[in-house]
């Protein structure tokens, strides 16, 4: 599985138009010199060898845990990914948690109070939030809170290189809010529809017949609605942890998404393939995690002892 992904990634990246060596050589180099510089760069990067040879070399070092070095910055790709992972996990994790913290109660209430004003309001807000592109919301946020009100920073993680938790939280507010809104909007709908399905089940009526109040009945329904939610989350988390390309770019957040975009622009093959591998591994891990979670939330999946 991993080998297929590795081969696919490697070939696809190299099939893409553009030559990384070209982008490394200054455009204003003298015409005669330029050709030679490009050739030298190509040799230095190992791009003069045939693609299969390149692959074997790359894959060999990959097995030793070496993802190669960035063409443009010459940093080790593994280190680069690790450096970017922290900020992305922080940003995306906070957004995901915050979004779910909003979506779960709102979705449950919308389902329980179906067809009331609360439900309609939640539905309308979530449609609007889903319809607004995140870049627009991000720029709106910057305009209102950073430019006009001057209460929040517009970009970056820290003010001036120093790492201070309060400072970091301060910088997180805007990007996290923008991303959390999208998460909340999407998951409110998932949770509402999942809850509606469960609330209509016979066992809920049976629980009410036992004398349970509305809260207890709702909790039973919620517990059951987690089963389909695990599937959605397993698909959602890898996409999320690979970074929000647009939002990271707008807020100059030094995360995965920003790194990937920059690498693509300069055809930084090792970084692109490294990023691709990271996403692939993430998908695999999340699917594995989902399978494990199923056995936690759904006793029917547990194998018979």
């Amino acid at each position: 599985m991993f080998l297929i992904i590795a081969v696919g990634l490697f070939v696809l990246v190299r099939l893409a138009p553009g030559d990384p060596a070209e982008t490394l050589v200054p455009i204003d180099a003298a015409p005669g010199q330029r050709e030679e510089l490009v050739k030298a760069a190509r040799e230095q990067l190992g791009l003069d060898k045939p693609v299969p040879v390149q692959f074997v070399l790359w894959f060999g070092s990959l097995l030793k845990g070496d993802l190669g070095y960035s063409f443009s910055t010459h940093q080790a790709v593994g280190q680069l990914l690790l450096d970017r992972l922290g900020p992305t996990v922080l940003l995306m994790g906070s957004a995901l948690v915050l979004g779910l913290l909003i979506a779960i109660p709102v979705g449950i209430i919308a389902a329980v109070r179906r067809d009331t004003f609360v439900d309609a309001a939640a539905g309308t807000v979530s449609v609007i939030a889903l319809a607004i592109p995140s870049f627009f919301l991000a720029m709106l946020g910057i305009y209102v809170f950073a430019v006009k009100l001057r209460v929040l920073p517009s970009a970056g993680m820290y003010f001036s290189g120093e790492s201070d938790v309060g400072d970091l939280l301060y910088h997180l507010i805007l990007p996290v809010s923008v991303l959390a809104l999208a998460v909340a909007a999407a998951f409110t709908r998932y949770i509402r529809s999942g809850m509606l399905e469960q609330l209509g089940q016979d066992y809920i009526r049976a629980i009410v017949a036992k004398g349970a109040g509305p809260f207890r009945a709702t909790m039973h329904a919620f517990r059951n609605s987690l089963i389909p939610l695990v599937t959605v989350l397993a698909l959602y988390i890898p996409a999320f942890l690979s970074g929000a390309v647009v939002v990271e770019q707008i807020f100059s957040w030094p995360g995965m998404g920003q790194m990937a975009v920059n690498a693509l622009i300069v055809r930084d093959y090792p970084v692109i393939t490294g990023f691709g591998l990271y996403v692939a591994v993430l998908v695999l891990i999340c699917n594995l995690l989902a399978d494990v979670l199923y056995t936690v939330v759904d006793p029917r999946v547990r194998t018979a002892r």
């Binding site: 016979d202 017949a209 036992k210 349970a212 517990r223 059951n224 759904d298 006793p299 018979a304």
Partner: protein, 332 residues
């Protein structure tokens, strides 16, 4: 009936909203349940049997409108109770067993836990151990073997018949006065049916609980019920002791129902069905709702124009037929 009724329905009428209109699903349903008796409610699908049971505990769909002269239970009127008071009756003093045991239990909660929960809802100060002890006692009463270990399993690990016993145990755990059993054996294999009925009878014998047994199966009724309420098109058409009903029913619908049982025929004879179909609840005839299908030789113009009320006959039998005093067996 001699004993004072534990539950008495008086004029229960239910309207269900379908589209923009309300359709009358139950009309003036009236009957008593005596303490410790097993009373059957029979009728075809759609005759309002289940809705009657749901009305008692008000487990109705949100678009239902219930009007009742009175649903008397222990001096109170269930139809007029506030939700919090109703909750103290549900599961505590009136238990409910539903038709399909495959969907009645929460699939992600251990069976024992669900029975514990029924107990702990009404005994908030009871500990886990106490609740489990009660649950296990009830599971044993309804005939679940190895209750202690099986209680820790999930519903999908239980067979249909076993699950229905669990549901019955759940309904019994608070020692209620009445159990409403809505087609408790319909979803089960014929071989399992008898065992589940047996569990209900044992509950009655040992705990003295009254059982309202809703079914369309006259065979089940004849086995366990002492009295029968026959329903047709949302109304009660006859109430009689089981033996009297089978020997000498006083309503042409009951008579036809009894006659259409497979057991009523000799081998090789074709089975008899009641011709026609029940009327649409939204389009009931002005007279007797059974008149269009009625094969009674007494049928007259009066049956089409005037709806008969549920009244006693000269020998004290309750029937909603204008000709309740005439012998009915001639129909067959």
């Amino acid at each position: 009936m001699t004993a004072a009724p534990v539950l008495s329905l008086e004029g229960v009428t239910l309207d269900l909203k379908t589209g923009d209109d309300y359709v009358r699903i139950l009309r003036d349903v009236t009957f008593d349940v005596a303490a410790g008796e097993i009373i059957g409610i029979v009728g075809e699908s759609g005759s309002g049997k289940s809705m009657t049971a749901l009305s008692i505990l008000q487990l109705l769909p949100p678009k239902a409108r219930l009007t009742a002269a009175r649903i008397g239970f222990d001096g109170a009127d269930l139809a007029g109770l506030r939700p919090a008071e109703l909750r103290k009756v549900r599961g505590r003093r009136i238990g409910m067993v539903f038709q399909d045991p495959m969907t009645t239990l929460d699939p992600v909660v251990q069976v024992g836990r669900q029975i514990d929960e029924a107990y702990r809802i009404h005994h908030p100060r009871a500990g886990r151990a106490e609740a489990r002890e009660k649950s296990l006692a009830m599971l044993r009463l309804v005939g679940v073997p190895d209750a202690q270990n099986r209680a820790k399993q999930y519903p999908h690990q239980w067979s249909g018949g076993m699950r229905q016993r669990a549901v019955i145990a759940m309904a019994l755990v608070n020692d209620p006065e009445v159990i409403l059993a809505d087609e408790p054996t319909t979803a089960l294999d014929a071989t399992i049916q008898a065992q589940v009925l047996d569990a209900l009878m044992r509950a009655r014998d040992e705990l003295g609980v009254a059982v309202v047994l809703i079914t369309h199966d006259l065979g089940v009724i004849s086995q366990v019920a002492s009295r029968v309420v026959v329903m047709y098109a949302g109304g009660v058409v006859e109430i009689a002791g089981t033996r009297e009903l089978f020997a000498d029913s006083r309503h042409p619908y009951s008579a036809a129902l009894i006659h259409s049982r497979p057991g009523a025929h000799r081998r090789g004879e074709p089975l008899v069905a009641i011709p026609g179909r029940p009327p649409l609840m939204s389009d009931l005839p002005a007279g007797c709702p059974f008149a269009p299908r009625c094969a009674s030789p007494y049928k007259s113009e009066r049956c089409v124009t005037q709806r008969p009320a549920l009244e006693p006959s000269v020998d004290g039998r309750l029937s909603a037929c204008h000709y309740r005093d005439e012998p009915q067996e001639v129909i067959a």
